[in-house]
């Protein structure tokens, strides 16, 4: 397995996705929080179109680290559950893949709140 190739593609694709975000902020004056929302929605739409999975296969972390990946894994979880359980899967599939990241963030936030104070 070659390491250099995937690392270069992760850097280029991941960097490019962030560059698009910076264009939204600086040129189109979208606030940072709104930019994050747009990327998640874009990830979900691309996943529905079947485009995000090939991008992850190609760019690895370059596509799976940006927040747009969150929209992709949410969509993927719902699609899997829809096939497995039928219509109720539309609800139960939401956190199937994405739940781990949210649970981890809650735990990290909890310990940070207990042991650290903002420096400013």
């Amino acid at each position: 397995m070659s390491f250099a190739g995937p690392l270069v593609w992760a850097f280029l694709v991941g960097g490019f996705i962030c560059l698009v975000g910076q264009v939204l902020i600086d040129v189109f004056k979208v606030p940072p929080a709104h930019t994050m929302v747009l990327f998640v929605v874009a990830g979900a739409v691309l996943a529905g179109l079947g485009l995000y999975e090939p991008l992850v296969k190609f760019a690895g972390a370059g596509a799976s680290v940006p927040i747009s990946n969150f929209g992709y894994v949410l969509t993927k979880g719902i699609l899997d559950a829809l096939q497995r359980e039928g219509w109720f899967g539309l609800l139960t599939g939401v956190f199937e893949v994405a739940g781990g990241a949210i649970a981890a963030a809650v735990v990290f936030g909890f310990f940070a709140a207990l042991f650290f104070r903002p420096k400013g």
């Binding site: 940072p32 903002p118 400013g120």
Partner: protein, 351 residues
């Protein structure tokens, strides 16, 4: 003028036009004091401040309590410099940016000072001076202190994002100063030596002006039309022109707002030129990463209480027009799509 005719004849001489007033007694500024944070202490005015904090928290549990304490320290330092006891003070007029001006409210709890809360955002100290001087002029008080404060981290968490959130700031953004300033006023007849002290001679009450500017990261621009409005009224109603003053001090339009301000004054035939300075520009060095400059109620208050008044006492400036400018929005009004209304109050200080 129907309204003017309702004012008693004697008062009419003090009231000039629609917005301005003349103080016959010319209340004297007997003392002033300022307390600032570490970043402000490293700025160009560092040596003018009474106290410079080593850290923004000031040993307190939260940033709001730190702000209350620097305000209290500034007020006490001004009282000390004036040689007054708390019980001798007839009124403290103070305000800040925290919800319901709690920094001021908590700073004076369980003290002996009669307290009037005032709010005009970054123009708070100007409003305090104007109202305080009016109390003295009317003979309803003999000794008053006007004060204001702001705290960078306390303001960030209330108005913008959590302090550790990694948001990028645009070039128009201003840095809320961690600073407090207090100014002690007295009627010259109260028996103390007031010769040579700076005196408040005129004031112009501002009107709330909304220029349609909605970007909360660009408050300096939003405040410019309010400053124009007040200054046009001031010069028309007092019969003075900009050349009368050694120094025209705005607080705080910051760098970008100051340029728009000067151009607009030029177009109104009121060239301010190099006699104009801005507290938000004076407080920091350009390389201190504060973008357009400083802001916050404590910015104008601390710059006035330190650099401006000390240099007046040293004789470097004799006639100063101080214009506090404030943005009167809150986070909810911005999210609801409202523009930023602004106000400017002018106070003429002459030595």
């Amino acid at each position: 003028m129907a309204v003017a005719s309702m004012i008693p004849v004697q008062a009419a001489a003090k009231r000039l036009g629609h917005q301005s007033m003349r103080f016959e007694t010319a209340p004297a500024i007997i003392a002033s004091a300022s307390v600032v944070g570490p970043r402000e202490g490293q700025g160009p005015l560092g040596r003018y401040f009474e106290t410079v904090l080593e850290d923004e928290r000031y040993g307190e549990r939260c940033f709001e309590q730190a702000e209350s304490r620097i305000l209290k320290d500034a007020v006490n330092a001004a009282l000390g410099a004036a040689g007054w006891q708390e019980t001798e003070l007839d009124a403290l007029l103070s305000g800040d940016l925290l919800n319901q001006t709690v920094a001021s409210n908590y700073a004076v709890r369980n003290t002996k000072m009669p307290f009037l809360g005032v709010f005009a955002a970054c123009a708070t100290i100007a409003e305090g001076l104007l109202v305080g001087a009016s109390l003295l002029e009317a003979g309803l008080a003999a000794r008053v202190v006007a004060a204001a404060s702001s705290h960078h981290e306390a303001a960030e968490r209330q108005y913008r994002y959590p302090n550790e959130f990694g948001a990028q700031r645009p070039p128009t953004a201003q840095w809320t100063a961690t600073a407090a300033g207090a100014v002690a006023l007295v009627v010259p007849a109260t028996g103390c030596e007031t010769a040579g002290l700076p005196r408040i001679t005129y004031a112009t009450i501002g009107r709330v002006v909304d220029c349609g500017q909605k970007d909360p990261y660009d408050m300096g621009t939003a405040e410019v039309p309010a400053a124009w409005d007040t200054l046009v009224a001031h010069f028309r109603e007092t019969g003075r022109d900009p050349a009368y003053y050694d120094l025209i001090v705005t607080g705080d339009l910051a760098r970008i707002g100051s340029e728009i301000f000067r151009e607009g004054m030029r177009r109104r035939g009121l060239e301010v030129g190099s006699r104009h300075v801005d507290c938000g520009v004076l407080l920091y060095r350009p390389e201190q990463d504060v973008h357009a400059g400083g802001s916050g109620a404590g910015c104008a208050a601390s710059v006035l209480a330190s650099y401006i008044l000390k240099e007046m006492r040293a004789g470097r400036f004799r006639r100063v027009l101080f214009i506090g400018t404030g943005s009167l929005h809150n986070p909810v009004s911005i999210q609801q799509g409202e523009a930023i209304p602004a106000i400017a109050h002018a106070v003429a200080i002459e030595a």
